[in-house]
């Protein structure tokens, strides 16, 4: 497999506590992979390691063949490793359009220009309008983010990620906090992600995982305990034990 994204033997310990141990994942372009695991499995630490927010104790991260282990969070984004947040991180006083335009300008290396007008950029606002339309956000494109529904804020996070045109996209619980009636909106948005993009989804909602992912990896107590098809994951003994723990033994 020609991997666009490769995590090899990644480990992280806090003192004596092994939060991630020897985690290896490889993803091909266009792959849809889900990372699941019970609470405390080390998923958040894994995201922080991969995105460069904290340094690993051992192991490496490669993006499109390049070793990015020593790069900081911002440099990784610039190389094409983009994430969304489990709890939305947006600018409350700005509009969805402004968020997307900023992402587009940054992609083009123009986000911090002084001698330019932010709102006068026709090409960028046209592209932003297109992306917002894809995610059905046109009607609220000019409202402040603080005034729009949480489900729409989640969609906006995906819109921003699309505007960044990443090589690899990390979706950190894209449906978290969204009322179940709005989950189909998120699902539809995920279906519209470019086919060539490698997407790694960290998610609790198993229905969403089964519909979205072609392959599932399970993290438990900091270690990968399963890699395979979504259909097989529920039948795996180690996975069942990790999720059900002592209940499984109590039953048996």
């Amino acid at each position: 497999m020609n991997a666009v994204f490769e995590v090899a033997h990644l480990s992280k310990s806090f003192g004596g506590l092994r939060v991630n141990h020897d985690v290896s994942i490889a993803m091909a372009a266009g792959e849809r992979l889900a990372l699941i695991g019970p609470n405390g499995a080390g998923k958040t630490t894994f995201v922080n390691l991969v995105t460069g927010r904290i340094p690993p104790s051992a192991g490496s991260v490669r993006l499109a063949g390049e070793d990015i282990t020593s790069l900081g969070a911002v440099a990784r984004v610039r190389r094409g490793l983009v994430r969304t947040f489990q709890v939305t991180r947006l600018f409350p006083d700005m509009t969805p359009e402004e968020h997307v335009v900023m992402a587009i300008l940054q992609r083009q290396g123009r986000a911090t220009r002084i001698l330019a007008r932010f709102h006068g950029d026709g090409a960028a606002s046209d592209e932003a309008a297109g992306i917002l339309a894809t995610l059905s956000l046109t009607a609220i494109a000019r409202r402040k983010v603080a005034e729009i529904a949480y489900g729409q804020q989640r969609l906006l996070e995906i819109a921003i990620a699309m505007a960044q045109r990443p090589k690899v996209l990390l979706l950190d619980e894209p449906a978290a906090g969204v009322p179940s009636s709005d989950t189909p909106l998120i699902e539809r948005a995920l279906e519209r992600l470019p086919a060539s993009l490698a997407v790694l989804m960290i998610e609790h909602d198993m229905d969403l995982v089964f519909r979205f992912a072609k392959r599932v990896v399970v993290l438990a107590a900091g270690e990968l305990i399963f890699q395979g098809l979504p259909a097989d994951v529920a039948r795996d003994d180690r996975v069942r034990e990790a999720y059900l723990g002592s209940y499984a033994h109590a039953g048996g």
């Binding site: 911002v74 600018f91 992402a103 123009r110 986000a111 911090t112």
Partner: protein, 336 residues
Amino acid sequence: MTRQAPDSAAAARPMRSLGRDSVGVALVAIAGLAGYWLFPDNLSFLTRMISVALLVLSLDLVVGYCGIASLGQAALYGAGAYAAGIACLAGVTEPFLLILIGAAAGGVTGLLMGTIMLRAHGLPQLVLSIAIVQLLHEAANKAYSVTGGSDGLSGMAPAPLFGIFEFDLWGRTAYLFGLALLVIVFVALKLLVRSPFGMVCRGLKQDPLRVSALGISAFPVLLRMFLISGAVAGTGGALGAIATQVVGLDSVSFELSANALVMLVLGGLGNLYGALIGTVVFMAVEHIVAAFNPFHWLTLVGGLLVAIVLFAPRGLSGSIDEAARILMRGKRRTAP
């Protein structure tokens, strides 16, 4: 109701904000000229007001737009004032050149201050800003041979403006010169805060993590804002030096820094009009009340500030904004 075509709406919005900005700038210029006609005997005070307004504008860039609290902004103002004063005494008397020297000195000091302050966050950052202004204050006090120490610098004699207009005893030239500078700086800053750079600064104030997730590094952006803020504050300091022809230790003091922050909060953060309104109201109240009751004027200013914070948390400009919106809404409702 007819739906506007999206492309014409997109074109209309920047035009509308451009129109609003032009009206705002015109209002600033008209208010300044009105001051010239209404208070011909107080022009030197009004010039000082403009000089301090530039300081408060520069503080708004850092506090209001980037969310970095500073109680040391006078370090940048004082750097500009001393640089212009020293240059003038050394024989550089061309007023525009003196302003440029002040702006450059403020800018360089801003870079240094930013480099130090951006290492920290929150309260430690605030303490660093105080430490920097106190250090510069002490340095200016000790370097007697250059700065005149506690006596300050005096006897500056700037050359006539454009070689024609003398800096007269009544301060007419200085005031109009200052007003022109203020309008130019104000227009430049309006463009700055509407630029992509300005939007990223606002983003950094609201959620730095989101900015980094966009692939934008905060440090170079903020450092550039410190440079610009320093240049604006330095311009204010240089104007003060030219207009009053005196530079004292008070220009690089914690007290002036704190007052500037008070004026900014009074007027409203994060919109440039607030900086101007806050400066004018604070200094006018100080001027009038101090003449009226020289012992208790600070009490009155304090009372005013408490009232503003309690009843108009977005500052005076925020309240004006609110009032305008309510009026507009009323008008729209009565329209057929």
